[in-house]
């Protein structure tokens, strides 16, 4: 599995609204499809996404089978202080992935 892709500005002004982009490689198998022999293909999706900024939660999403493969999630936050933004994806079959980025607030 490829590493999650994230885009967090390296630096920002205090109080600035910054865009954060994430992309996780995942098949997002809906659980509604069948094989050619009629067997149901088990659901395998990302169900949760959480972003924290120096430990404080700033964004959370719950994902469902209608979400396409390789979920691309983008959101905004206010640059309050220098530190680390951490991202965590969780899902079916014990799936989890982490990534983090540093941001310097001037």
């Amino acid at each position: 599995m490829a590493r999650p892709l994230i885009n967090v500005p390296a630096t920002a002004k205090r109080g600035e609204v910054v865009a954060i982009r994430t992309l996780i490689s995942h098949p997002m198998e809906s659980g509604f499809r069948h094989t050619s022999t009629g067997e149901r293909i088990a659901r395998d999706i990302v169900t949760g996404f959480v972003a924290t900024y120096n430990g404080e939660e700033i964004f959370r999403a719950t994902l469902f089978p209608a979400i396409a493969a390789n979920p691309f999630i983008t959101f905004h936050t206010v640059a309050t202080e220098s530190g680390t933004i951490e991202f965590r994806w969780t899902g079916d079959n014990g799936y989890s992935a982490n990534e983090q980025a540093k941001i310097t607030v001037v």
Binding site: L5, R21, L23, S25, A69, N70, F72, T74
Partner: protein, 422 residues
């Protein structure tokens, strides 16, 4: 009833009695079909109409006196072929009885059944066939406008852009990074970006070995993917890197002044950049009202008549043709079906249910050819691939088979250009 001359009488008995020519066509003499666009689709359609029924007055409207073919133009970019080998004239088309008018169609009055030309002249038609190919959606990719295309060529309509990209590659220093951007579907020639990447990588490997090509893609899947990826692994492991959508490959903007291509997750500075931008049906389709909000043209798959405007047929890359890819082979196949159907319609007859074939050859190196083929037929109004009809080259074929397919590709090009322009 007015008196008929002997010639009119003969024509009307053979035509009206035997084939039942429609009333408007009879009133004006020979039925008139105007074809706009002299590429693989339009030139094929004009010729096929004349062959289907020599009494039809066929006029082909084309802007340029010289046609430059897109298939094989990636070999020109890779320095393996000259642009002149891609160019064809219309003398033989005209010699076959098609009236060829070198002008640009600027307007269509569907009610009055009249095409206006940039010369100010007008052409009346009973039926109109549009084969306008593609236009670029300028600025659909932020930063990519006509001026940017002079620095970051698209080379997706063969001609000066093809020559420009080749010159840029030749002028690049060994070690320079070439960046390509491939668009999301639909677009002209689905395997084209991957053939081009292969042949640029071939040029780099043989002439600029310290250079590298990065192919940024707005897709995770593409035509003949496994065959291309196998070829890349075998031929260009150090010279070609494909970045898929899920690896952040979708280009979201370009800056021609700094030769930079941006994605959601980073930016790439290029020594040479080839941006294949989003596309739409050629301009006249929009003018005629046959393109829908997608920018492409919905058609009836039996007659290729527009679903939006009666008496106007559309074929080739401009259409929404179900499973059929936008290729020269497709345009040629659709032209024959459209011409046969149009000849029947102007004669007041019912067109037959068609079957169409497409084959796309790609060359990953001069001696490395791969193909995809399919057979299509209308199912519930949509051109649908006949199950089990086609396929791609075997994934595990020996190199000798790839070399043979490269020869077949050359044979195909000579055959189709011979049929259309020769």
């Amino acid at each position: 009833m007015k008196a008929l001359s002997r010639r009119e009488f003969l024509a009307s008995t053979t035509v009206a009695a035997a084939v039942g020519l429609s009333a408007p066509a009879l009133a004006q003499g020979a039925p008139r079909v105007v074809v706009v666009g002299g590429g693989f689709g339009g030139a094929s359609a004009a010729r096929a109409l004349k062959q289907a029924d020599p009494r039809i007055a066929v006029t082909l409207v084309e802007t340029s006196r010289t046609f430059t073919a897109c298939p094989f133009s990636n070999l020109v970019i890779g320095g393996l072929r000259e642009l002149s080998a891609q160019q064809f004239g219309y003398d033989r088309v005209a010699a076959g009885g098609v009236e060829v008018v070198f002008a640009t169609a600027t307007g269509v009055d569907a009610r009055a059944r009249r095409v206006t030309l940039d010369s100010g002249a007008g052409l009346d038609f009973d039926r109109l066939v549009l084969s306008p190919g593609i236009d670029i959606r300028w600025n659909a990719l932020p930063g990519y406008d006509e001026a940017a295309a002079e620095k970051m060529p698209h080379a997706w309509r063969a001609g000066p852009q093809t020559a420009l990209l080749r010159r840029q590659l030749e002028a690049m220093e060994d070690g320079g990074v070439v960046v390509m951007a491939a668009p999301a579907n639909p677009f002209r020639c689905p395997p084209g970006p991957y053939e081009r990447a292969s042949l640029i990588a071939h040029y780099l490997k043989t002439k600029k070995p310290k250079s590298k090509l990065i192919l940024l893609d707005a897709k995770d899947q593409f035509s003949k993917q496994r065959l291309f990826q196998n070829a890349w692994k075998e031929l260009y492991p150090d010279h070609l890197e494909w970045v898929s959508l899920s690896n952040g490959g979708k280009v979201t903007g370009v800056d021609a002044s700094t030769m930079t291509l941006s994605t959601d997750f980073g930016s790439h500075k290029a020594a040479v950049a080839n941006v294949i931008p989003p596309q739409k049906a050629g301009r006249i389709a929009e003018v005629a009202g046959v393109a829908d909000q997608t920018g492409w043209c919905p058609i009836d798959p039996v007659t290729f008549e527009s679903k939006l405007v009666p008496n106007i047929h559309v074929l080739g890359d401009a259409t929404i043709a179900g499973g059929m890819p936008k290729s020269a082979f497709t345009a040629n196949a659709q032209a024959k079906i459209c011409a046969a159907a149009t000849a029947k319609l102007v004669a007041g007859e019912q067109p037959e249910q068609p079957k169409l074939i497409n084959t796309c050859y790609s060359v990953a190196a001069p001696d490395y050819g791969i193909t995809v083929a399919g057979v299509y037929q209308p199912v519930n109004g949509v051109l649908t691939e006949v199950q089990g009809s086609g396929g791609v080259s075997p994934i595990d074929a020996p190199r000798s088979a790839r070399a043979e397919e490269a020869l077949y590709a050359a044979g195909w090009f000579n055959t189709i250009t011979g049929e259309v322009f020769g």
